[in-house]
Symmetry: C2
DNA sequence: CACGATACTGTCAGCGCTGACAGAACAAAA
DNA sequence: TTTTGTTCTGTCAGCGCTGACAGTATCGTG
């Protein structure tokens, strides 16, 4: 049933019906109430597609997850999922709907497709993957976008994220304080976020003496991470202190360590990153660097809506927090 | 830039341009190629909103997650997330986009809103929550919907899910085989899926003699589950065999058990449900009843698209599988 | 009573696209 | 040459809704 029909039943013009349903002030109280009641009674709802076309505003925000190197990851990664949940809440609270797009970047135009489709009023990018330049190019001309990830000097991207350098430092300092001397960073430093985490980790270690450091470029999915860590341990002496680029990697590493009879934290101290929901429920409970996804999600939404409203906003880096549990 | 403008540049009529871009056969090869090239060059993309309004087809499927009793759960629940990831893949593969809606059912019309909005071509409901009747009412008149959950005799809902009764049986049998005698089911049997799992569990136990059985109506979120299990153990003698209604509950329970110095599986055998990604990475690794989310997601999408195409399809129950790891 | 102000309601164009229909151009057949 | 068929292209209405503008009714004021 369309608005025309509803208007006919109510005995008013279409536009009066439209006004009544959208709480326009220039419609008589009684008329409005009558029309609203009729709409209710007949189960009438505005066609959002038509409304969007006419108003040039969809009320929908696109949440885009680019899957660069890690095709399998992302949508099953607990951290992204947590963020997505937070976004769903934050958007709903502000009256927006959520359009989810899981993109495997092919060619340089993967983002433009979403934008020019006219389906969304704005875009929240979850993670930069290996697409920094592509994103940057779009960011220079398209304002209605915010990104979860690492801030870069001179970039046009508005980003929200934790200060990954500090996060890496916090972890290194904690490991050094525990007396670890052979440290390892588990993760692929090609992703901007991980690069920063490693930078902080590396810097803090460089200040200490008599400490060695390796990077094991491990992938993000559980099985890959486990297999790669297993292989690494088979070929190399075990480190005594680990910073994993994510909690998922940390959990896989702990399993691999256990498989080799190494105790956590006695033989190897392990620190994760993210503080996903399950981090407190592993055994030993995972010590980790916390990123507040709920706060981050709200921030992303706030900044995006501000940009859409034409305001000028800047990137935000939240402070990460070391959560000490049992693994380090 | 709109189609009108593109057509002008190409020196053809709008509808020829439209036809060229949608690969309509009745446009000359050369014309099509020229227009496609121009579109590429100018970064033109069809406005999907307008196209949807005109064609009365959006190319979007709504994935709706009703949050009945468990408001916090769902979008952070690893099982649902896994399913969502699978759906995102399956839909993308078939050329559909995904509209994510996280609904707290208020009043009986929460589903109608999504349907009548005209934003989606069909709906995939993830989980029935406590909304069986509301869903059933919609299902009688609205065909373009499929549901992840429990099948019910005489229902109009097309459901995809695992055979939860069998799953419960598998778990009970395994626990009995291990010699467990004081069994517990952890979960709230108000949700249809959990009710079935309990039914299978209960039935299998009833056949054995000298075995006691309790139900602890534990919630789905990690913290709640942990707290409630903790409280239960403080007030009651510990069971020696547990079936948790989900892996998340099982993990919380294992932590609570460890907190009381109870060993898994020596003192208490624990079986989870779902086989989430992390299940193999707890310690001890979680024995669980596996639901294949990727297959399930593909099935949901296939059935929905078949229904949209007007075909007649039936509900599907997949067989669950007992995955024996270390916890039982 | 005339006049303007106030309060509401209706008319109509058009958001950007698609497809039924009609028309044009050209080749082959009569 | 005309006719018929084939192949392509253009015209036009309209998907369901909104809002600028114009119109009508009612009321208060001089």
């Amino acid at each position: 049933m369309g608005l025309v029909e509803l208007a006919k039943i109510a005995g008013v013009s279409v536009s009066t019906a439209s006004r009544a349903l959208s709480n326009h002030p220039r419609v008589a109280r009684g008329t409005r109430e009558r029309i609203v009641a009729l709409a209710q009674e007949h189960g009438f709802r505005l066609n959002q597609t038509a409304s969007a076309l006419r108003k040039q505003r969809t009320g929908v925000i696109g949440v885009v997850v680019p899957l660069g190197h890690e095709v399998d990851q992302a949508l099953s990664d607990p951290f992204f999922m947590g963020l997505l949940g937070g976004l769903a809440d934050a958007l709903t609270k502000r009256g927006y709907d959520l359009f989810l797009s899981r993109v495997v970047p092919q060619g340089p135009r993967w983002l433009d497709d979403v934008i020019a489709s006219g389906r969304v009023d704005g875009i929240i990018l979850i993670g930069q993957s290996d697409q920094l330049e592509a994103i940057e190019r779009v960011a220079t001309s398209y304002e209605r976008m915010v990104v979860w990830g690492a801030a870069r000097l001179g970039s046009n991207q508005i980003t929200v994220g934790t200060d990954n350098v500090t996060g890496g430092e916090l972890a290194a300092q904690h490991l050094l304080r525990r007396g670890c001397r052979r440290l390892a960073f588990l993760g692929n430093p090609e992703a901007p976020e991980f690069a920063d985490r490693y930078t902080g980790f590396h810097t803090a270690i460089a200040a200490a003496s008599g400490v060695t450091e390796t990077v094991v470029p491990i992938h993000l999915t559980m099985e890959d991470a486990y297999r790669e860590m297993e292989a690494y341990l088979a070929a190399n002496p075990a480190p005594d202190g680990i910073l994993a680029a994510s909690d998922v990697i940390a959990m896989s590493a702990m399993r691999a360590l256990a498989g080799r009879g190494l105790r956590v934290p006695e033989d190897v101290a392990v620190i994760g990153y993210d503080d996903i929901l399950l981090a407190g429920y592993t055994s030993p409970a995972l010590t980790t660097i916390r990123q507040d996804v709920v706060y981050g999600a709200n921030l992303l939404v706030d900044l995006l809506l501000a940009r859409i409203a034409g305001q000028n906003v800047g990137s935000v880096a939240m402070l990460p927090e070391l959560i000490v549990r049992d693994s380090a």
